[in-house]
Structures are given as C-alpha cells and as structure tokens.
C-alpha cells in the first residue's frame, strides 16, 4: 500500500488563507480518491507561508475492477433500439450476451471497467483540484492563464511503497511534478530530493522549516511567554495574532524589545493598535501597573548576531510609528486642553457628511437638538445630553483618529476628559457609537444612550428623507444595524417613545415616508423578537394595534400576548374569538349590515347568554384601565377570563335562530366580543 505525498510550492501565501487552503486540499483530494475507488488509511494536511502539503498513507495501489451489467432490449426489438443500446454501452453486437427471460430473449451488456493505477488517478484529480481551487482570491502571473493564490512554482507529488518513491507524472501548464522541494528561503536555499512524508518532514526541519503551523504557534507562544516571564512581565494574549504570525514564518524566532520611555504614557489602546495593526507585534504588559512596556516580534530566521540587528530594526520602526502617535497625541491634547476641542468642532463644518444631508457640523446640531428632546424619556439631563452630542464626534477631526480610525470615540473620551468636560460627556464620546453589532453592549449611562439614540435616529430619518434605503443585500450606510441599535437601546432602557413624531420632526419626513421607516423598524423588530422566541403572528397581532410606533409598548404587548396564548385559556379564547368573528363576518356580509348597534341584555334567552353579557360588561372597564396603564399582562388576563363565558355561550346557544330579533341581538353580542378583544390585540392575525 503506497503513501501519497503532495506539496504545492508557491510564492508567499497570505497568512489568513493558509489553514483553510490546507483543509480544502485534503478534503478535495481524499474525496476524489475515494470517489475513484481508492480508499486510504489516513491523511493530514499542513501549511507554511510557501507551501501546502498533503500526506495520505495506506492508499490502494490501484482502484478495484468494476463490473456492471446492463439489461437491454429484447433480441427481436427493432434495429434502432438495439443500436441505441450498443451506443450507450459502448459495445458491439458480438459483445452482447443473450439471456432467456420470462418475456423472451433479452440482450445483456456486461461492462468491465479495469482498475486503474493510483498514479493515474492522483494525477488526474490533482490537476482538477489545482485548476479549481477555492482560494478567496486568486491570480494569474506571467503569460499563463493558470490561477493560484500567488505564482505556483513547483509540485511535488510522489507515491512511496516498499520499492521506493515514484513521481506521479503530471504537467500543469508547464509545471512538471517532481520529487524535490526547497527549504527555508534564506537559511537553506536550493532544492532537495524527498523520498517520503517522514523524510520530507525531517529534511525540512534540517532546512529550517517547521511544517506544522500548530507547532510553530506553540513554539512562538512558549518562547514569548518565557521571555516575558523572565522579565517579570506577561504577554497580552491574542489568538488571532498568534495564528497570523505563525503563518508569516517558516522558522519562528521570537524577539522581545523595549518600547521607548517616551511612549509609555500613551493610552494602552494606542500602543496596542499601533503595534498589532502595523507591526504584528504582541504587547507585553507589566502585571503590576497594567502598562504595556515591551513588545514581542517574531522573525523568520536566525542570524549570527542572535537577532540583534533585526530587533534593533523593529524597535526603530516602532519608535517611528509611536513618534507619529505621540506627535498626534500631544497635538491633540493641546487642542483638547487649551481650546476645549473647539477647532475640531469648527472643522466639522467643512466636512460633508453626505452631499444631500449637509456637513458633519449640521448633522451634529440636529443630533444635539434631538438628544435634548429625547433626554427626558431616558431619564438623562437634557442639557448634558445636548452638550455631549456636540462634543461626541469632535475627535473625528483629531490627528490620532485620522491616523487610526478604529480609535474613534475612545480618543474622544480621552480628549473630553483632558478638556475637563463632565464625565458623562466623556463617556458619551466613546459609547455613543454602541451598540455596533448584535453582541455589542448597549450603553447603560443615560446620557450616552440618549446621544447614541439621537445619532442613529438622525441617520435613519436622514437617509429615508433622501431615499437611500437598504435594498436586498445592499446596505452601504449600515441602516439595518442602526435600526437594531435603536431597538436595543429603547428595550434596554424601557424607553417609551412615539417614533412617528420623531421622524417627522427630524428631517420633515412626509407621513408616507415616516410610515415606511416605521415599517422598516417593525421588520427589524420582528427579526429581533424572533430570536427571543416570539411568534411572528403574535407580533403581527400587536402591530395592528394603535400606537405601534412605541416599540417598547409594542413589545410589552407582544410578550403579554405570547404568554397568554401559551395558556389553555388563551388558546381557547382565540378559538372562541375566531368562531365569533367568522359567524359575524359571514352574517354581516350576507345581510349587508354591520352589527354594531350594541346588544341588549333584555333579549338574552339562555343563562349562558346573560353570563356572557355580564362578563363583557365587567371586562370592559378593566381592559380600558389596563390599556390606559399599558399593563398588557393585566389586559391579557382580563381577556382570558372571557374564554369560559364565550365557550359556554357557543355551547348553549345557536346564534342564527328563527327569531330575527334574538338573532340580531346575538350578532350584536358577537360584535361586542370582537370589539372588546380587538382593544387588546388583533387576534384575527393569530394562526391556528
């Protein structure tokens, strides 16, 4: 049983693509082998910056013979039918067998597919895989048309058994498979011959290549933590960075360096962002002070000076980067302290937010006005909220945020603190962007939440006003995210807010546009509540009610309805209601009358009928009170009390009696049921 070894050797593969590519190679190749009849004992894939490798051991030397029988037409069938059968089977007449069947003599074709040697199958399948490899991004190079992630230089493809290794013959656009590869680019250049996977792995290690990425990552983490520990420090864990760095080197060499004393006072986020994003450095912190004092970089080679030159170089690069950051920080702090961030705010007047929506400064003024208006609903101080809104985006003009956009908000907080603004305002600078995604926290501080809400509402109404709504998968201004943010803020703070007046006041939305925006919110809300397990028909039943632009009230109603529907009373009430509604609708249609005159108890005949009258009469004030208090649980409870009398009524009474007066009165009674129930929720929308 031979072992298969494949190595695809290319120019440097992006770190983020390597692991997935190795998996894809393994899956596609092993699937194809099995499909072709070649089973195997085991397989493993590896990746380094320059190679993808697959080893398959215990592979069948050739695929098994396959015998297939096909039943054909009867011997006396028309010539055309027989010819067609021969064509399909790829045989001639004399190769067919005749067999006696119940219905007479029938032709049989016996097709034998001989087994094929593994090398042939591997060559065929590997070529297909290379030509159709699922790289996230691939490219052409030179004058060829082959695509790979970066230029593909060589293919090593051998089958090894007791007799030794044999190259699998194949040629893809001039790249001829062989049994050689290269070691480390700088530490061991030149090609060498490989006999098996074990030989490959061992020879690579001698040539300064650690084949296994997990082994490289472990070595990096071990060495980094050891070096940090020896200095009484600890490495800030970052699994993503570790995996990335392990994908940038074949021979990891960990070097720890110092961050210049000049930079230690920079905010830790600035240090970390700068080191990670630009340099792929790990941060090393002093556990006593929490400050980041050193960095760890991972080189791809050993040097005669034990990395001294490399470390000095990296340290210099970092110093230059951090000098920039420090320059920005110092300049920014001066503007924050001396001018209370005013120049930045002035500058925003010259920055267009959107051609049709004016400048950032104009937008901020709108947000400030809206924040003042919304503040009471969130128990925030209106003056503070308004001021916070005016300050919150000032850092967009700061040099640090221009350089590191990902630090927006956070820098605002530092600068607002330095400027001496109230802590609530400083917090709002950072928090008003939240929640950014479904997992991001909603700001809890009232001022922050108010500014966040005003910001998002202004964005939404603004883009609705200029008709730039999300369509399909396109949502360039992240409006869905903004709407979900509004919903989550309102829910978390239990903020009662009628949205329609806000929409119309913000950007003078027309009634139609405001209704459209509200229905966008309703759609987002449905998605949000579905995750909570609330049924869509329950939401629809509540959406049909008055005041559906108060999302908190809407949700409270939906939750209460969902709760009552899960009880036996609730479930039966829906049945009773639907029965009443169906009969009523049908009779109203037939008679061409709306039975809304009010029923009169004096025409009640059965005791059950009177009981229903009484129950409806008793429920009415309770429902009105509960509705007025927005106590939807109480309203639902009251509604549930109607279940028994309604059931009993239908049990005992026939609505459509011969007595026209009684019939009319009963239909009017059904109408009362309907109108009473509809005060709480539109149960017609509840699905059975």
């Amino acid at each position: 049983m031979p072992d298969l070894l494949i190595e695809l050797f290319s120019e440097e593969i992006p770190a983020r693509m390597q692991a997935r590519a190795a998996e894809d190679l393994k899956k596609r190749m092993t699937d194809a082998l099995v499909e072709a009849g070649l089973t195997y004992a085991g397989a493993a894939a590896f990746h380094t910056p320059r190679r993808l490798c697959l080893t398959v051991h215990g592979l069948l030397a050739e695929s098994p013979l396959v015998r297939e029988e096909r039943k054909g037409p009867r011997v006396d069938a028309p010539e055309k039918a027989i010819e067609g059968f021969l064509r399909g089977a790829g045989l001639t007449r004399d190769q067919l067998e005749e067999r006696e069947e119940k219905k007479g003599k029938v032709f049989f074709a016996v097709i034998e597919k001989p087994g094929r040697p593994a090398a042939e199958i591997v060559a065929e399948e590997l070529e297909k895989i290379i030509r159709n490899f699922p790289w996230p991004k691939s490219m052409r190079w030179g004058a060829g048309s082959l695509r790979w992630v970066r230029p593909l230089h060589s293919i090593l493809c051998i089958l090894t058994d007791e007799e030794g290794a044999r190259v699998v013959p194949m040629d893809i656009d001039g790249i001829v498979a062989g049994d050689t590869t290269e070691g480390h680019r700088f530490m061991a250049p030149g090609r060498f011959k490989v006999r098996s996977f074990e030989d490959y792995d061992a020879q690579l290690k001698r040539r300064f290549v650690v084949l296994d990425a997990a082994e490289r990552a472990d070595a990096i983490w071990q060495e980094a933590t050891n070096q940090a520990f020896a200095a009484g420090l600890e490495v800030v864990e970052d699994k993503g960075l570790l995996a990335e760095v392990a994908g940038l080197v074949e021979w990891p060499v960990v070097l720890m360096g110092e961050i210049g004393a000049d930079f230690l006072h920079l905010p830790p986020e600035v240090l970390q962002t700068s080191m990670k994003e630009h340099q792929k450095f790990f941060s090393v912190k002093n556990p006593k002070t929490g400050r980041i004092e050193r960095f760890v970089t991972v080189a791809n080679r050993e040097t005669a000076d034990n990395g001294a030159t490399i470390l000095a170089g990296n340290q210099k690069v970092l110093s230059a980067r951090l000098s920039d950051a420090k320059f920005f920080w110092d300049n920014d702090l001066r503007i924050a302290k001396d001018a209370k961030m005013q120049p930045w705010r002035d500058h925003l007047a010259h920055v267009t937010f959107h051609a049709k929506l004016g400048s950032q400064a104009e937008r901020i003024e709108r947000i400030a006005a809206l924040a003042a208006q919304l503040a009471p609903a969130l128990s925030a101080d209106a003056g503070l909220a308004e001021e916070a809104a005016r300050i919150a985006k000032a850092d967009l003009s700061s040099e640090m945020v221009y350089e590191f956009p990902e630090l927006q908000g956070l820098m605002g907080r530092y600068y607002a603190e330095a400027a001496g603004f109230a802590p609530e305002i400083a917090a709002a600078c950072e928090e008003h962007y939240s929640p950014l995604g479904p997992t991001d926290d909603v700001p809890t501080a009232p001022v922050s939440a108010t500014v966040a809400l005003a910001d998002k509402l202004d964005t939404l109404t603004g883009f609705w006003a200029i008709d730039e709504k999300p369509t399909g998968s396109k949502d360039p201004f992240a409006l869905r995210r903004a709407a979900l943010g509004v919903i989550r803020i309102l829910m978390q703070h239990g903020t009662k807010l009628a949205m329609t007046p806000v929409f119309t006041s913000c950007h003078d939305l027309s009634a139609d546009t405001a209704a459209d925006l509200l229905s966008f919110f309703h759609d987002r809300l449905k998605v949000h509540l579905r995750d909570e397990g609330i049924r869509h028909d329950v939401i629809d039943a509540c959406l049909a009610m008055e005041g559906n632009d108060d999302l908190v009230a809407l949700v409270a109603r939906a939750r209460a309805l969902q709760a009552v529907l899960s009880t036996e009373d609730g479930e039966n009430l829906v049945q009773g209601f639907k029965r009443a509604n169906n009969i009523l609708t049908k009779e109203e249609e037939k008679d061409g009358v709306a039975y809304e005159f009010g029923a009169d108890p004096k025409f009640a005949e059965a005791a059950e009928e009177t009981a229903l009258f009484n129950a409806l009469e008793a429920a009415k004030p309770k429902l009105d009170a509960a509705n007025a208090a927005e106590d939807y649980a109480a309203a639902m409870e009251t509604l549930a009390t109607l279940r028994a009398p309604i059931d009993a009524f239908f049990e005992a009474v026939q609505v459509n009696t011969d007595n026209a007066v009684v019939r009319r009165n009963r239909l009017n009674l059904l109408s009362t049921i309907r109108s009473t129930v509809l005060k709480v929720a539109d149960l017609t929308r509840i699905e059975a």
Partner: protein, 359 residues
C-alpha cells in the same frame, strides 16, 4: 473617516521609521555553515562581488538604476507631471495594458499633499521619490530579482529578516487591482510587490509584475539615518556635500503651507472639471486625423488630463474640502477617465492594436 488609500505604492504613506544597518556586520566573516549565495550578488558582472554600503541617497538610486539596467530593464526618466505615485507614469499604467512585452525602471517624484509636515516630521513628506519597476510578462524569478536589488543597495540578507506580507493593491482611481505583498525588512515596509490583474478595467494579459520602492524610507534605513532631512543627498565627502534637507526642507515648508491653507479650492475645482472635460473631448475625436489622414488615437494626451484630475483631487483632499461620501464620487470620476484612457490605449499599436486584427 478612514482615509482612502487611493494611490498605490504606499511605501511613503505610512509613517514607519528608518532602520540602521549595523555596520559591524560588514566586518563579520560569513558563517561557513550557511549558504553563501545570499551574502553576495551574482549577476552584475557574473563574479561574486562584495557589496559596499552606499554613502548617499543618490548612490542608492544609482545602484538601483544600474542593477535593473543589468537585468534588462529600459531605464526611463520620471514623467513630467505631478503624480501621486510611480504607478501613474504611463510607462506603468498604460504599458501594463495590451499584449506587448515591456520592462522599465525609473525614479518617479511623487506628491501626496496630505502627507506634508512642513519638513518637520522625520518620515513624512508631501514630495518624495518612488523607484518603480514594471516587467511584462512577470518573470518567474521576480522575487529573486527583487531580493538581488536589496543586496545591490547593501542590505545583507544574512542579518536581516525579509518577509513578504499580504497586501492586495487596489487603485480605485485607476480602476486597477493586483495581488502581492508589502515587503518587510525587520518589520519595516520597504517595497510593494504586485502582480497586476486589472488596469483601467481591462484584464491584464500577460500579467505585469510591479515593484515600488519608497526611496527615502529605504535609503534612511540603509544609511542609518533617523530624520529624512539629515540624510546625505550626495557623497558626504564631496566638496559641496548636500543633505536631503538642503535640497528639500524649504520646499516642504512652502508646499505644506500652500497645500493645506492657501491653494484656492475654487480654482482647483475648476481645473478638475476642465481636465475632466478635456480628457473626454480628446477621446471623443475620430481615430483618423483629418489633417494627416493617419490613424492617431490620442491615448497619452488624454491620460495626461486624467493624471491632472487625479492630482487636483489630491490637492482638494489636502485642503480638507472633500467629505468621506464626496470623495467616492470624485474617485469615481477619475476612474471613469482612467478607464476611457485604457480603452483608448488598447486601440493603439503600443497597446497591442494591429490593423489586421481590427474589425
């Protein structure tokens, strides 16, 4: 607020610092246990030559010129217009289009108005130099050729950590993209290395390999200089030794002031629109010149106007009058011009057009 990297060859864009090449390294004997090939450069005269450390900015440029000339590139001169990067030179943008082989290397003065720091920042300049190499089709040993060029300017591979880190290049203004890397030397980006896939909306067949070196940064690193203005421009032993600052400090100051605060934005905006209109007017002409009766597609004059529009956009950007949303629209307008110029260039002989293939 993310500043769009609308221009390629960011080697001069990011404020990464210079590095010192350790001088003691020169005196160390090569480690006999290590392969020798990378300590020496083969190819310039076919013998193994010990590379001396260059002494000045211009010497680094001259060595790159000599190196790439020895590898068969046509050494071109800078394009005589204001551009944001070496890629804008027609020797790259236009010549990467079409089927004709091409190999060129040149220095290109590049202007990034927003990067002006009045000559005070050690690493940032609004005017700097890029070294640009473009070879079509990209040769299979382009990485090795590139590493050879680093050795030629005195970077010792045995002591430094050279890495190819993913960096896909996209130029929204040129309607171009490619895949490649930024090349790191000891954590510093010293070059961009790109295989062009598309330029001006056209698929590149064959593919060009493009190398862009940020010359100041690279030179500061090789020469061990901390502030760009302190870098020797010519030989420090020359009778009149000039530093980079002697040549450029004053102009950095002058242009920074003009770029940021003085440039008349209305005039710039008007020029932008004029360049745009002229570009389109040029391309709207009949292919056959009525005067000479010859077929003359004016791809290059049109492309000059596209370059102008692009630079005017950069100036407007530096004046801070273009918002995040507006800049997309401006970039789109320049891209539309670049695409039309590319369409025109492939209608010329240099762009692979031949009378017999024309329908």
């Amino acid at each position: 607020m993310q500043p769009e990297e609308d221009l390629p060859g960011a080697a001069g864009r990011c404020g990464s610092g210079p590095l010192t090449l350790r001088t003691p390294a020169r005196n160390q004997a090569p480690d006999p246990g290590r392969p020798r090939s990378v300590r020496y450069v083969k190819g310039m005269d076919m013998s193994e030559t010990r590379i001396e450390k260059p002494r000045s900015f211009q010497e680094i440029i001259l060595r790159l010129q000599a190196y790439w000339a020895s590898k068969g590139c046509a050494v071109m001169q800078p394009y005589d217009m204001e551009v944001g990067a070496g890629t804008f030179h027609p020797a790259t943008t236009l010549r990467s289009l079409g089927s004709k082989p091409w190999a060129a290397a040149y220095v290109q003065p590049s202007r990034r108005p927003t990067d002006g720091r009045y000559g005070e920042n050690p690493n940032r300049l609004q005017h700097y130099y890029q070294y640009q190499v473009l070879i079509k089709p990209s040769p299979p040993d382009l990485q090795d050729l590139y590493l050879g060029s680093l050795q030629a300017i005195g970077i010792d591979m045995e002591l430094h950590d050279i890495r190819f880190v993913e960096d896909d290049w996209e130029s929204p203004t040129l309607g171009a993209w490619g895949l490649g890397w930024e090349v790191w030397c000891d954590g510093m980006e010293v070059s961009q290395f790109t295989y062009f896939q598309q330029v001006g909306g056209h698929d590149c067949h064959p593919v060009s390999g493009e190398l862009t070196y940020g010359l100041e940064r690279l030179a500061m690193y090789v020469l061990g200089i901390d502030h760009v203005m302190d870098m020797p421009y010519n030989d420090p032993q020359a009778p009149i030794a000039l530093k980079y600052g002697d040549v450029f400090r004053q102009t950095e100051e002058e242009y920074s002031r003009w770029n940021f605060d003085v440039a008349n934005t209305e005039v710039l905006l008007k020029h932008f629109e004029e360049a745009e209109a002229e570009c389109e007017a040029i391309l709207a002409q009949e292919h056959v010149d009525p005067k000479t009766g010859k077929r003359i597609v004016m791809a290059h004059p049109a492309y000059d106007q596209c370059i102008k529009a692009s630079h005017l956009f950069n100036l407007l950007d530096a004046r801070g009058v273009i918002s995040v949303t507006e800049r997309q629209a401006y970039i789109g307008r320049v891209r539309a011009l670049a695409k039309k110029c590319a369409d025109a260039f492939v209608q010329t002989e240099a762009g692979g057009w031949a009378p017999e293939t024309a329908a």
